[in-house]
């Protein structure tokens, strides 16, 4: 009987808890079964932000927290045969590989092999004008934005190739999130590239794990209604996968959080559209027949996943630069705060108009309405009675004219002297914006490379 394979997740986004991988690796080592850990750190626009950074320096453009993420676990993983897979390559997978190589030297590891997958960056080879726009993004206006990045979501196969070449760590850029978890499963079990049910089971495990703590109580817990133990130390997930595609979701030992039907359901449907057709680069997954069985504390089996053929085209996400976002905030508090906040907002709108600044803007009354409101501020007009006594006014202004955007944000600063009575606590900033739009591209147009280097050769 073939033993099962364990796959853990070490981070669900760039910015996740930096100490999360440590208990995951500790659990994998103690368990002793063959295993891997994967890191998902690339959001929709992260590659573009990395690309902008890379234009400034060749040793950047990859996950900035790569070294602190891997330093506590690289030795244990290497010595125990735990494969590490991550899209921390961002816009510069070779740069990330060199960073890992330097870390290996620092940790005195010899013989580490680093796999590098490239080919997701299609800017040089494919014109976006020839591609079909992804249906959900048809309404997105990229204006005259300059193209910053265009990356295809690669499937698991190039990662599998790198593993087959003996890589202990595999670095890639844009890859389908579930593919990061699927690759070591295909490599370990030898699943064929058209065994759709097995691939669907692996991709579902990857989907449940790719956001780290979110399947173990992260963005789940709510006082009274959905309590979890130790939210300050939520364990990151570990899946046990059988050669026959059996999937059990659990989490790192001696940690907080929990895994039960509620946490699984929330994450199973996270970022899913039609559950009967969850499209990944490797397989189209049917989640509509899924049932769950709690096997023991923090262990849930996922049953009833099936798969059909992978999509013919791959998704490409392109990012366009050339615009800026200015933000400014001030506070009012105490008696009559709501009236003063509303007056402040009116003054800001009038000032932008009065000065003829070419921006689109909105103004939030934080404490009254912000996150749920529309740009027009519909919810802020509802009757709040006297309202809360502490309100922060936030102006957001965007446009392609950097000076106009900055002047808009500075209008908030000017309220320290020109504003309503008792205005204080001004902050303002201007950031570059990246607008994303997705497309669909033929697989044949995307050529990938899987290399494997001896760590010492990258120094």
């Amino acid at each position: 009987m073939t033993t099962s394979f364990l796959i853990g997740n070490g981070s669900g986004f760039s910015g996740d808890r930096i100490d999360a991988p440590i208990p995951v690796v500790k659990t994998l080592v103690a368990d002793g079964r063959p295993s891997a850990i994967f890191f998902e750190v690339l959001g929709e626009r992260t590659v573009a932000l990395a690309q902008l950074e890379r234009t400034a320096s060749n040793d950047s453009g990859y996950e900035p927290m790569l070294e602190p993420l891997l330093e506590p676990i690289l030795k244990d993983c290497f010595e125990n045969g735990i494969k590490i897979i991550g899209n921390f390559g961002g816009a510069n997978p070779m740069g990330a590989a060199r960073c890992i190589s330097r870390l290996a030297r620092k940790l005195k590891l010899t013989g580490l092999r680093i796999g590098v997958v490239t080919g997701d960056d299609i800017r040089e080879r494919i014109s976006l004008d020839d591609l079909e726009v992804y249906e959900a993004d048809e309404g997105i206006d990229v204006h005259d934005g300059t193209l910053v990045s265009a990356n295809a979501y690669l499937d698991a196969q190039p990662l599998v190739e790198a593993l087959a070449k003996g890589a202990d760590v595999v670095v890639c850029g844009r890859t389908g999130d579930p593919s990061l978890a699927l690759a070591p499963l295909i490599h370990h079990f030898g699943w064929s590239a058209d065994d759709w049910d097995l691939l669907a089971a692996g991709a579902t495990a990857g989907h449940l794990l790719e956001c780290g703590s979110q399947v173990c109580g992260g963005v789940f817990f709510e006082p009274g209604y959905k309590e979890i133990p130790c939210p300050e130390n939520i364990g990151f997930p570990i899946a046990e996968i059988g050669a026959d595609g059996a999937v059990i979701i659990g989490k790192a030992a001696d940690t907080g959080g929990l895994v039960d039907a509620r946490t699984i359901k929330e994450q199973l449907l996270y970022e899913i559209h039609d559950p009967a057709q969850y499209i990944t680069p490797d397989v189209t997954v049917d989640l509509s027949g899924v049932t769950l069985q709690q096997l023991s504390e923090d262990r849930v089996q996922i049953l009833g996943v099936s798969g059909t053929a992978r999509p013919e085209k791959l998704k490409v996400t392109a990012c366009f630069g050339g615009s800026y976002l200015g933000e400014g905030e001030v506070s009012v508090a105490g008696p009559n705060a709501l009236a003063r906040a509303r007056a402040t907002r009116q003054v800001l709108h009038d000032r932008l108009k009065f000065r003829g600044l070419d921006v689109t803007a909105r103004c939030d009354l934080i404490g009254i309405s912000s996150a749920h409101d529309s740009d027009a501020g519909v919810l802020s007009l509802e009757d709040y009675g006297p309202g809360p006594s502490d309100i922060r006014i936030r102006l957001a202004a965007a446009g392609s004219n950097r000076s106009h955007v900055e002047q808009s944000a500075r209008e908030v600063l000017a309220l320290l002297c020109c504003g309503t009575a008792g205005t204080g606590g001004a902050r303002w900033r201007v950031t570059r914006r990246v607008v994303t739009r997705s497309y669909l591209a033929e697989r044949a147009a995307i050529q990938t490379q899987s290399q494997c280097f001896a760590s010492e050769d990258l120094l």
């Binding site: 929709e44 626009r45 992804y134 959900a136 993004d137 309404g139 997105i140 206006d141 963005v219 789940f220 709510e222 009274g224 209604y225 959905k226 509620r262 359901k265 929330e266 994450q267 199973l268 449907l269 996270y270 970022e271 899913i272 559209h273 039609d274 559950p275 009967a276 989640l287 509509s288 027949g289 899924v290 049932t291 769950l292 009833g304 990012c319 976002l325 689109t360 803007a361 909105r362 939030d364 934080i366 912000s370 996150a371 749920h372 409101d373 529309s374 740009d375 027009a376 519909v378 919810l379 936030r394 957001a396 202004a397 965007a398 914006r433 990246v434 607008v435 994303t436 739009r437 997705s438």
Partner: protein, 126 residues
């Protein structure tokens, strides 16, 4: 309706939980009843049209509902609710992650036994 288990009008939050996720300018919100008894009344009352009405103020153009009876759950897919998506939005929450709780604020009529055990709307059913 029975004498022991009266129908009451409560925020959806008292009988279900959910999570929002985004892809571009498209948002999905799951609605997951705590107890299966809430599935049928939610299926009847929380139509795609009603959810469209809830998010119309943000420019939503289409809402689709997918039912998962085996998980006693629903998935709502809401188009163009993010006013441009995370990268174009002026909203502090460009991802729309907080919007699950906008949906959970909508009122539904359910048997009292469907309430979460911590709900302050509970009056005495087991």
């Amino acid at each position: 309706m029975t004498f022991e288990d009266p129908i009451i009008r409560v925020p959806l939050h008292e009988v279900a939980h959910g999570r929002a996720g985004d892809k571009g300018n498209r948002l999905n919100i799951s609605v997951i009843p705590y107890k299966e008894v809430a599935f049928a009344p939610i299926a009847e009352q929380l139509t795609a049209e009603r959810v469209h009405d809830i998010f119309r103020y943000r420019g939503t153009t289409r809402v689709q509902r997918y039912d998962l009876p085996k998980l006693a759950s629903f998935n709502f897919v809401i188009d163009n609710v993010l006013e441009g998506g995370v990268n174009s939005s002026l909203n502090l929450d460009g991802h729309g992650k907080t919007l699950s709780f906008r949906l959970l604020a909508v009122e539904v009529e359910v048997p009292e036994s469907a309430l979460h055990s911590a709900s302050p709307y509970r009056r005495g059913v087991q």
